[in-house]
C-alpha cells in the first residue's frame, strides 16, 4: 500500500464514521416522528373490554416503563445505542417480549437467500444482454432491448403483481404467498425444501426481471460507447484479434456496472420490501413493514440501521475495488 493509498483510505474511513454516526441518530429519530403511539395500540389490543380507566392507565405505565419510553429522549437514545452495541437492539414493542435481534435473525436469511441470488442473476443476465445488444446490434438490439426497457420501466410492485396474477392465480403454477406451505415445520427434508423452492420462484424472478432491464440498458450504452472508442480502432489496425478487442471493450464497459451491483447488494434489504410484502415472504422487508404498521421503533431502527451499514460497507468496498480494477480511478484518487 502506497502512502497515497493510506492517506486516501484514512480520509474515507473518517467520512464513513461521520456518516455512520449521523445515520444512527437519524435511525433513532425518524421512526419516532411517525404518527401513532406504540403503547396505546398494544394496550388497546391486549386489554379486556371491561377494564377501568385506572387499569388502562396502569397498563400504559407498565409498558412505557418496560420499553423505556418513560425516560426523556436522551435516555431513550442512550438505551438505543446501548442495545445496538450489545447486539440485541432491545425488545420489540409489537411482539413483546421478543428481542429485536431474534426477529431479525429469523427473517434476514430469507431476505439474503432471496435477494442475493436474484440480484446476481439479474445483474449477470442484464449485462450479458446489454453487451450482446451493443455488439450484435440487429436482432438483439431491436427485439430484446425494447422488451427489457419495458420491464425496467414497470415499477417493482407492478411487475410482482403481474407475475402473481399470471403464474400463481391464473395458471396456478406457483403458490400465491409465503416461503413454504403453511402448517409445514421447517426442517431438512425433501418435502420442505421442494416447498421452499416452489415458493421461491415468483419473488425471485420478479426481482431478476426488474434488475435485468436497468442493467441491460446501462451496459448497452456503455458498450456502444467503448466499441467506438479510439483504442478499439487502434488495436484493430495493429492486427489485434476481434475476440481480444471485445474483451477489452467489455471489461471497460463493465466498470461502471460494478457500482450498480454493489449498490443493489447494499440496499437489498430496502429493495426487498416491495417483493416480500406482495408475496408475503417472511424476510426482513416483511418484518420492517409490520414494524412500521405498529410503530415498533426498535425493529424499524434496527432494520434501517442494517440498511445503512450495508450501504456504507458496499460503497466502501466499491472504493477499494475500483482502485484495483480501474487505473483511472486509482490515478485520480491516490495522487
Amino acid at each position: 500500500m502506497t502512502k497515497g493509498m493510506r492517506k486516501y483510505f484514512k480520509k474515507k474511513i473518517f467520512w464513513f464514521v461521520i456518516t455512520f454516526i449521523a445515520a444512527v441518530v437519524l435511525n433513532f429519530i425518524l421512526p419516532r416522528l411517525m404518527p401513532g403511539d406504540p403503547v396505546n395500540s398494544i394496550v388497546g389490543k391486549n386489554i379486556s373490554p371491561g377494564a377501568t380507566q385506572e387499569q388502562v392507565q396502569e397498563q400504559i405505565t407498565y409498558y412505557k416503563h418496560q420499553f423505556g419510553l418513560d425516560k426523556n429522549i436522551f435516555g431513550q437514545f442512550w438505551d438505543f445505542v446501548k442495545n445496538a452495541f450489545n447486539g440485541t437492539f432491545g425488545v420489540s414493542y409489537s411482539q413483546y417480549p421478543r428481542l429485536v435481534s431474534d426477529i431479525i435473525g429469523s427473517s434476514i436469511w430469507w431476505t439474503v437467500a432471496l435477494q442475493l441470488p436474484a440480484i446476481l442473476v439479474g445483474w449477470l443476465l442484464g449485462n450479458l444482454l446489454g453487451a450482446l445488444a451493443a455488439y450484435k446490434r440487429s436482432f438483439y438490439d431491436k427485439a430484446l432491448m425494447p422488451l427489457t426497457l419495458f420491464f425496467s420501466a414497470i415499477p417493482a410492485f407492478g411487475a410482482s403483481v403481474i407475475l402473481l396474477v399470471i403464474f400463481a392465480v391464473t395458471l396456478g403454477w406457483a403458490p400465491v404467498n409465503g416461503a413454504f406451505d403453511p402448517g409445514m415445520i421447517p426442517g431438512f427434508n425433501w418435502k420442505f425444501i421442494s416447498s421452499v423452492i416452489a415458493h421461491y420462484q415468483l419473488p425471485f424472478w420478479s426481482i431478476v426481471l426488474i434488475s435485468i432491464g436497468g442493467q441491460a440498458v446501462g451496459m448497452r450504452s456503455m458498450s456502444i460507447y467503448e466499441l467506438n472508442a479510439d483504442y478499439v480502432k487502434y488495436a484493430r489496425f495493429l492486427g489485434i484479434k476481434d475476440k481480444k478487442i471485445v474483451r477489452y471493450v467489455f471489461r471497460n464497459a463493465m466498470l461502471p456496472q460494478v457500482t450498480g451491483l454493489a449498490m443493489s447488494i447494499g440496499s437489498m434489504v430496502g429493495g426487498a420490501l416491495v417483493a416480500e410484502t406482495i408475496f408475503s415472504y417472511p424476510g426482513l422487508g416483511m418484518s420492517m413493514y409490520a414494524a412500521i404498521n405498529s410503530s415498533d421503533y426498535p425493529v424499524i431502527s434496527a432494520c434501517t440501521l442494517i440498511i445503512t451499514i450495508m450501504v456504507l460497507i458496499a460503497s466502501f468496498m466499491l472504493d477499494i475495488i475500483y482502485a484495483f480494477i480501474d487505473p483511472r480511478v486509482k490515478a485520480a484518487q491516490f495522487d
Binding site: 480502432k233 487502434y234 484493430r236 489496425f237 484479434k241 471497460n252 487505473p327 483511472r328
Partner: protein, 336 residues
C-alpha cells in the same frame, strides 16, 4: 531506382451512408514511396486524407468499403487478401498506423507492456513473455522513452508521452510503411517537436522503411517529409518534392493552401496570407468537371465540365488542372 516500399494503383474506396448512398472519399488515388522516403499528405478537413490513411491498411470496416485498385507493399499485393491474413501478416508489420487521436489510442485499463504483448501474440510470433519484455525495453530505450512506461497505464502518462508511446508501439514490428495520421496536431509545440524528431529518428535508424505523414499543418510537412502530396475532394491534385510544393505550387488549390498558412522559411516573408473562399464539394454528388472549379479564381467554363486527369510533368511531379504549367506560372507571377 530505389526499391518501392509502397505502390498504390488507382485505389478507390467509399463510404456507404446510412441512407445507402455511396461517397467516394478516395477516388483513383495512385502513389509510390521508395525505401527510406517519406511522403506528406496535405489538404483541408474532409478532403479524404484520413480516409486514404485508413484505406491504405487494406483492412476495411463499415461504413468504409473497398471498391477497386491495388495496394502493393514491398512487392506484395495486399488487396484481395482475406481479412485474417491481413490482420496477421500485414497490419502492424507491413503497414502500421498511428491514429489521429493518439492521445486516446491506448486502452485505459491495459498496461503499455501488456498491450505490446497482445500485439506480438496477435501476430503469432514465437516469443515468450520475457523475450517480448526484453524487446520492448530495448525498443523504448532506443527511442529515448523511459522503460518504466511499460508498467504504466495510459492515464499515468502525460499527453506527449502517450503520443510517443503510441508511436513506439505502432512501430514495434518494424513496419515497411508507417502511416501517421496527424500524430502531432493535438500537442503543444515542444511535444510536437519531440514527436517529429522521434519519427525522423526511426526513419534514420531504419526501424521504419517508409512513412506517410498526414497533416493540415504544411510548415510541419516541409520540415519532415521528402515529398508532399495535396488532396482535394478525394483526389490527388498535385505531388512534388517538399521544396517544390512549398515554393512553387502549380495547382491553384495547392497554391491557395500554401498561401493560407505561414511557412517559416526564407522567401515566404513577404507573402500575404489569403484564404481559399468557399467549401469543398459534397462527395455524394461530385462536380462533373474539375472538383475545385467552383472555388477556383482561374476556372473557365470548360473547367466545370471537363474531367481532369492527373498529369505527369516529369521529375516525380504531378498535377491535375486544365491550365498548362506555363499559363499558371505566368498568372501567378502577375499577382505577386
Amino acid at each position: 531506382m530505389a526499391k518501392l516500399m509502397l505502390d498504390v494503383r488507382q485505389l478507390t474506396t467509399k463510404y456507404i451512408t446510412r441512407t445507402g448512398e455511396d461517397v467516394y472519399s478516395v477516388d483513383h488515388v495512385s502513389l509510390t514511396i521508395e525505401e527510406g522516403k517519406s511522403l506528406g499528405i496535405a489538404g483541408e478537413s474532409g478532403c479524404g486524407k484520413s480516409t486514404l490513411a485508413l484505406s491504405l491498411m487494406g483492412y476495411y470496416f463499415p461504413p468504409l468499403h473497398y471498391t477497386s485498385g491495388d495496394i502493393i507493399v514491398d512487392g506484395k499485393n495486399i488487396t484481395g487478401m482475406d481479412p485474417d491474413t491481413i490482420r496477421k501478416t500485414v497490419l502492424g508489420s507491413d503497414v502500421a498506423y498511428i491514429p489521429q487521436a493518439a492521445m486516446n489510442a491506448l486502452n485505459p485499463t491495459r498496461k503499455v507492456g501488456k498491450f505490446i504483448e497482445d500485439v506480438i501474440h496477435a501476430h503469432e510470433l514465437p516469443m515468450d513473455k520475457k523475450q517480448i519484455r526484453e524487446m520492448a525495453e530495448q525498443r523504448f530505450a532506443l527511442l529515448g522513452l523511459p522503460v518504466d512506461a511499460l508498467d504504466k497505464h495510459s492515464v499515468e502518462l502525460s499527453g506527449g508521452m502517450r503520443q510517443r508511446v503510441v508511436i513506439a508501439v505502432s512501430t514495434i514490428l518494424n513496419p515497411k510503411v508507417l502511416i501517421a495520421d496527424e500524430p502531432s496536431s493535438a500537442l503543444d509545440v515542444t511535444s510536437q517537436k519531440m514527436v517529429i524528431k522521434m519519427m525522423k529518428d526511426m526513419m534514420a535508424k531504419g526501424l521504419v522503411k517508409s512513412m506517410i505523414f498526414i497533416t493540415h499543418e504544411l510548415p510541419l510537412l516541409y520540415n519532415v517529409t521528402d515529398d508532399i502530396m495535396v488532396m482535394y475532394a478525394g483526389q490527388i491534385v498535385e505531388r512534388g518534392t517538399a521544396k517544390e510544393m512549398v515554393f512553387d505550387p502549380i495547382h491553384p488549390y495547392s497554391r491557395g493552401l500554401m498561401r493560407s498558412i505561414l511557412v517559416p522559411e526564407e522567401g515566404t516573408r513577404d507573402v500575404k496570407l489569403t484564404a481559399i473562399p468557399g467549401t469543398p464539394p459534397n462527395l455524394k454528388h461530385p462536380p462533373q468537371g474539375c472538383r475545385f472549379a467552383e472555388r477556383c479564381r482561374y476556372a473557365t467554363e470548360a473547367c466545370k465540365f471537363n474531367q481532369m486527369p492527373l498529369l505527369d510533368i516529369g521529375g516525380g511531379r504531378y498535377y491535375r488542372c486544365g491550365h498548362s504549367v506555363e499559363h499558371l506560372r505566368e498568372v501567378y507571377e502577375g499577382e505577386d
